[in-house]
């Protein structure tokens, strides 16, 4: 580390040169002036102008400084370099809305934060090193020893960069390969997602192994360390490791995959991601994301609607007046269900007479839907359709009512056998 620090401090020697100091002073001055201008004089300007000036004012002033130095015969290469860097960053900000046109917000966020900006910053840092030194020289700086191998700064950087790129960048190729295999093999979407995840893990594992080989770490040493580490795993990070292994197991088993629908606390939830530690599920009811440790799926019962197929059988219950013919009501219910979008014709809807209630006949209408997450909305649609159909066919949906008969003589009772409701005429007394 002393060598790295010494190299870093060595660069400060350039500040002994008036030409370098002059260039840097101008760049710093340009940045300060642009800040002052933005805060004091541009606050009243239109928003679009403020946005553009925030992006380009400093660059403009730095550019003017370069022109001035050039005109007076002074060195200005460093100013141009810093100007290029500043403009590059502005371009990165400018393409943000353009990316929004072709990518969804999550993809854009991932692309910008995980790839574009880190790559720009690292490339800028390397370029800066190349201005002050050579990347090869800096890369050759020793930083220590691992498993009997001398580790240099360059090896550490390459190892980190490749590992990062493999982990972050393997998503797209793994996704494309999984899609290709899906077309070839005809597998389901959830299987494709599982395959994509497995491919990513495999690529990351091979990539990290390749990095270790590139550094020159002896595979035997790695195996020995892995052996020692396994003991540590048993005690220290058992839970994390257990969750990781559970995640892999679930992927291979296929019971919990991205796209699957599981019942969690009585609510259908869709599996969004199967992470290293936890599974992310989405609950439609309140748009909540649930983070459930992978090992929970090992130890607890779970109900799935997507184990062998994605069909869900839904059911609504309805009461119809006692006076209506059950056969015609059942036929109407089945016919009505078929008219509702989302209700599958096969298997066909099935209506059943469940029971005779005190004031109505209770029916159940069972039907099948393709997306288990749409149960509530499908039931709502079917209920609405039934109301409309019953109204059209004069079928009463009765509200709670009770028929009471007065205890008179049998003759009087025969002449007076008219139903009476609560509140109508005489007050009925419960028997």
């Amino acid at each position: 580390m002393n060598a790295a620090l010494s190299e870093l401090l060595g660069w400060l020697g350039y500040l002994q040169r008036p030409s370098v100091v002059l260039q840097l002073a101008g760049v710093i001055g340009s940045i300060v002036i642009s800040q002052v201008l933005q805060r004091r004089w541009l606050t009243g300007a239109p928003m679009w102008l403020q946005g553009q000036l925030r992006l380009w004012l400093a660059s403009l002033l730095i550019g003017l400084w370069a022109v001035l130095l050039n005109a007076t015969g002074q060195l200005h290469g460093l100013v141009l370099f810093l100007l290029g860097w500043r403009c590059g960053w502005s371009v990165l900000v400018l393409i943000h809305p353009l990316l929004g046109r072709v990518l969804d917000p999550e993809q854009r966020y991932d692309l910008e934060t995980r790839l574009l900006r880190p790559v720009f910053l690292v490339a800028g840092a390397i370029d800066l090193i190349n201005q002050l030194d050579t990347v090869n020289d800096v890369a050759a700086i020793p930083v220590g020893e691992a498993f009997g191998v001398e580790i240099s700064l360059g090896k550490v950087f390459v190892a980190l960069a490749i590992s990062y790129l493999v982990i972050v960048g393997s998503g797209l190729p793994a996704g494309l390969l999984a899609r290709g295999l899906q077309r070839l093999l005809g597998i389901s979407d959830s299987s494709r997602k599982a395959m994509e995840l497995i491919l990513r893990y495999a690529v990351a594992f091979v990539g990290i192994l390749a990095v270790a080989m590139h550094i020159g770490i002896n595979p035997t040493a790695v195996i020995a360390i892995a052996g020692g580490l396994s003991v540590g795993l048993g005690f220290g990070v058992k839970e994390i490791f257990s969750n990781f292994i559970s995640g892999l197991w679930l992927l291979f088993e296929g019971s919990v995959r991205p796209g699957e629908v599981l019942m969690i606390d009585g609510d259908p939830c869709e599996v969004r991601r199967l992470g290293l530690r936890a599974t992310v599920l989405w609950r439609d009811r309140d748009n909540a994301e649930l983070l459930i440790p992978n090992q929970c799926f090992f130890t607890q019962d779970a109900t799935t609607y997507t184990g062998s197929d994605r069909l869900r059988r839904s059911q609504v219950t309805i009461a119809a007046g006692l006076q209506h013919d059950p056969a015609s009501v059942i036929a109407l219910l089945e016919q009505t269900a078929l008219t509702v979008p989302g209700v599958l014709p096969t298997p066909p809807p099935k209506a059943l007479l469940i029971s005779y209630g005190d004031w109505a006949v209770n029916y159940a209408l069972r039907f099948w839907i393709a997306n288990p997450m749409n149960n509530i909305s499908s039931c709502s649609a079917v209920n609405q359709a039934i109301w409309t159909a019953f109204k059209a066919h004069g079928i009463e949906i009765p509200y709670p009512q009770q028929v009471a008969y007065l205890a008179r003589s049998s003759a009087a009772a025969a002449t007076d056998r008219q139903p009476r409701r609560f509140g109508d005429g005489e007050t009925d007394q419960p028997n």
């Binding site: 760049v27 940045i31 300060v32 933005q38 925030r54 290469g77 960053w89 020289d137």
Partner: protein
Amino acid sequence: MPMNWRCCSIRKAETVAAALLLTLVSGCVARQGTQHQESQQRGVDTVLYLYAGVRDDSSDLEGFRRDFGQIFETIADEFRQINPRVHVVVQVYRETSLLRELTHRNASGLGPDLLLVSNSTALKLAQAGLTRPPRLTSELRQQFDAATLRRASLHNPTRLASLPVAQKAQLACFNTARLPQAPATLQQLLAISAGGNTVGLALNPTGLFWSVGALGAADALQQATARRPLTPQQQQAVVRWTRWLQAAATQQKVTFYPNQELLLKALSSGQLDWISCRSTDLPRLRRRLGTKLGVAPLPDGPEGQASPINELTALALGVNSSAAQRRAADAFAHFAVNPLVQRNITLTLKEVLPVNRYVTVPAESSVVLQAMVRAQQQSRTAETFASLVHLNDPRVQRSQSLITQLVFGESQPELTAQRLIQTLQRQP
């Protein structure tokens, strides 16, 4: 708005960066203003940036850094004993990339204060105006012989492009496990190859020029290089050399290689038993061959002694230095050629020869030094060629092409000799 958020983050980052840089630079500006007085009074640390050029065909940069570090530490440690406030930062570049790098860096003010490069590169950089000529006092001039000054100067010996600091001797390197004794003559060289030993020769004219003297063609080719007409005898001498090359090429165990790096690799891996090498290649070869590495002078011939071209290593001076850096760089360059330092480098490393003519090398102490001293004597045969033809001379490329055609049987010795003379006589 995401745009605003980003702009804010940029603005904050810029403000912090500006504040940091301002603090740093203001401190340095303040230092700069009073630098001269301070340096007089209590001494300010001066940082010197030294670029070291590595041969273009070399693939062993790590090895170069290690070997170069040894040479450099020898000079720098002694220099720091009398200039303790000077720190030297070394950066390594390939010699072919130096022209581009210097053009770019000099424009930024981030160019080097010193460059330790081959004489050819130093001349090229000086010609492009990327380095400044060293201050050559009469006292300093006396340290060098006339031939060395001629080689290091662009137009006249009073204006040097750089200050020579060392000579890399061209030698014979061989594997003693397979070849107990190095061949002393060209005939012996072909005889050992006929006997089963593998021999590697360079295809480039500067790497092959050692064989010219042994066949009596050195004067002829040097005459041609100086654009003077050749006598029939001299032309015949050149034909003799090209015939020898053809004869060598027909030997099954003699192989021609396009560059020095391949020769070194082949000897290191055991593919070859004998090659021509540079004294600065010895540490690398020693690492691979250990005690099996043999070193000897290049073989003489029936018509004279070998004519190796001992490459000069020179210190060129940068153009971006501050006044203090300029003074320190000049002092460093002058220090590097003083007799005591030259002697120390030679005896400690046994890889380079001194350029200071007042330094005598005690050759008896080492076989390698003996070979190097012998190479120094032999190289006088090639002095004119060495001073007129540099590595980046276009005539070198054209000559290599002619030699390649000859050794692959595409051209006859007489025609090759004639074309070679014509090529060398052309204006570079």
